[in-house]
């Protein structure tokens, strides 16, 4: 362990951009302005090279071979797990399960924990601003077990109705599954309160951290969430790899999610026994190169630090909010006081898809649609919104380009 204290490096967005090859691409002859980071972030050279290096220098199947390459690949994968553990400050590597992404993580908990612990009449509390991936897995397990789903409503500004939540909690509540940051609205939810209130009621808490981990420092031991999931691809890492954090005692008590190789201790036709954590939940050959690549992404983000990243992104969000408010026909959806770098909006008389198409031809990539959060759209009685979601490599000039391209939309539709 190094005890050297790093001198904070001033945040240099140009230097960061230089690390992301795709950002110098042009689309339709225009500079790419990538504002769809909430859907997936771009990858720095360090991550791209890391994946190539794995296949070129340290690749074999893991946790099996006695040979050199297998051991090298295993070491690299487990070193990456340790990086992820440190990144989220989990108490142990046994609490860090590799999954395909947040969706698989939630499905794993809903199926494994849910089948073992839910029965008819038990209640699962979700919020109105959940992504479909934190709704549908719970509906599936509720159908199988007879458990009931309750929903925390949101205010016009896009905040959770905490008083209603308090009223929903009871001794029937077994699980509270909640997003950390809303992907459609940007709202940062008051997780500490939710977790302490849920625990006081005897319920567990699963947090969907997809939209939080690229923007905020997270600390599993301080947060005290029971489960926390996120996807690597939103954290500048590869797609197809994500993390389920779970408290060790809970994971230990849960039955396996999938059966197969790697997750067993012994197998006979009379019965099998399971491997220790985290491998009990990692059946089959894992996504080796991308797991190692996620470690590289964690290194990259950690070297810059969330203090600098957060300050830059908050400044971008404030600037973009001000710019868009200045356009009369624009209505921002989601104005919670505490937001991550996500800006959802509508323009009077113009459908979000038409806006998205016109922006696209200006090189500006935004998401349009329901953002896999149809209940949020229903809440605001809209079919879709336009969403600009910012990353650490975005610039104030790119916000200007967004505003200018929105003026072009107005011209065309005026």
């Amino acid at each position: 362990m190094s005890t050297k204290i790093e001198t904070p490096v001033p945040f240099d967005v140009d230097a960061i951009r230089a690390d992301f090859p795709i950002l110098s691409q042009e689309v339709y002859g225009k500079k790419l302005v990538y504002l769809d980071n909430g859907a997936s972030a771009q990858k720095p050279r360090q991550v791209i090279d890391n994946i190539s290096e794995t296949y070129e220098t340290r690749y074999a199947n893991v946790h099996r071979g006695v040979h050199y390459m297998s051991q090298t690949a295993t070491d690299a994968m487990e070193a990456a797990r340790e990086k992820v553990r440190a990144f989220i400050n989990a108490g142990s590597e046994r609490e860090v399960i590799y999954v395909r992404g947040a969706t698989e993580g939630i499905n794993l908990v809903a199926a494994s924990w849910g089948r073992a612990n839910l029965s008819a009449g038990d209640e699962i509390i979700l919020s109105e601003m959940e992504h479909h991936s934190n709704i549908v897995p719970w509906q599936l397990i509720a159908q199988q077990t007879g458990a009931v789903i309750k929903v925390i409503p949101i205010t016009d500004a896009g905040e959770l109705e905490m008083e209603v939540f308090k009223g929903l909690l009871s001794d029937k509540t077994k699980m509270v599954a909640i997003t950390h940051v809303s992907n459609a609205l940007g709202t940062v939810v008051p997780l500490a309160d939710i977790i302490s209130m849920s625990h006081a009621a005897g319920a567990l808490v699963l947090v969907d951290g997809c939209q939080a981990v690229p923007h905020l420092a997270i600390d599993m031991q301080a947060l005290d969430a029971d489960f926390y999931v996120f996807s690597g691809h939103k954290l500048y890492g590869p797609s197809g790899i994500g993390v389920l954090y779970g408290k060790e005692a809970l994971l230990d008590a849960m039955p396996p999610y999938q059966g197969g190789g790697e997750m067993i201790d012994t197998v006979t036709f009379e019965g099998s026994t399971w491997a220790d954590l985290p491998f009990k939940f990692e059946a089959g050959t894992p996504n080796i190169a991308d797991a190692i690549g996620l470690g590289a992404a964690v290194d990259y983000v950690s070297a810059i630090g969330f203090e600098a990243i957060g300050a830059h992104e908050n400044a971008l969000l404030a600037y973009a909010t001000e710019k868009l408010r200045a356009i009369n026909s624009i209505r921002i959806i989601g104005e919670a006081p505490e937001k991550a770098a996500i800006l959802s909006f509508l323009m009077d008389g113009v459908h979000p898809h038409d806006i998205g198409t016109i922006l696209d031809r200006e090189g500006v990539a935004v998401r349009t649609g329901h953002h896999c959060a149809q209940p949020v759209m229903d809440r605001y009685d809209v079919a879709a919104t336009v969403r600009a979601s910012f990353a650490m490599y975005n610039t104030f000039e790119e916000v200007d380009a967004l505003a200018a391209s929105l003026s072009k939309v107005q011209e065309i539709f005026s």
Binding site: V350, H351, T357, I358, G369, A383, K408, I412
Partner: protein
């Protein structure tokens, strides 16, 4: 440049999207079907009144983008009074137009030719064809929802 947004959003299309013709429910409709684009949440319901083999009346209700509403509006004007066979033939010509199979000229597409620009915006072709798929579904009498996916 092919695919400039101003080629797509021509005045005629904007006019139809802002002032859709034949919008609203249709009392006494004999056939109807819903179209749904789950990718974007756009929805349309097409109502038809058939008199024998002839489409006597058409109306639609839509929640969608300019392209889907304009296409539905133009379709409603074009197929009114046509036979089922003629409407189906028109759909085939229109489909070929927006997917780039034909120029559309001389195909009797009239105002629909203004939607030819959609071919340069592949992600938007489904918007242009949603109401037509719903119309076809209604004619088949299935009454079930059609999806673009």
């Amino acid at each position: 440049m092919a695919g400039d947004p101003s080629d797509l959003y021509q005045d005629l299309i904007l006019d139809h999207s802002k002032n859709p013709r034949n919008a609203g429910p249709l009392d006494g409709a004999t056939h109807q079907a819903r179209g749904n684009n789950p990718l974007c949440g756009d929805r349309i319901t097409v109502y038809l009144t058939l008199d024998g083999d002839q489409i006597a009346d058409v109306k639609f209700e839509a929640r969608g983008c300019a392209i889907s509403v304009a296409s539905a509006s133009m379709m409603s004007e074009m197929i009114k009074g046509k036979t089922v066979e003629e409407a189906t033939a028109l759909f085939e010509k229109f489909h070929a137009l927006v997917t780039g199979g034909t120029s559309g000229e001389g195909d009797g597409l009239e105002e629909l030719e203004s939607l030819a620009g959609v071919r340069d915006f592949p992600t938007r072709i489904k918007c242009a064809t949603l109401s037509w798929h719903a119309m076809q579904q209604a004619l088949r009498g299935a009454g079930e929802e059609v999806r673009t996916e």
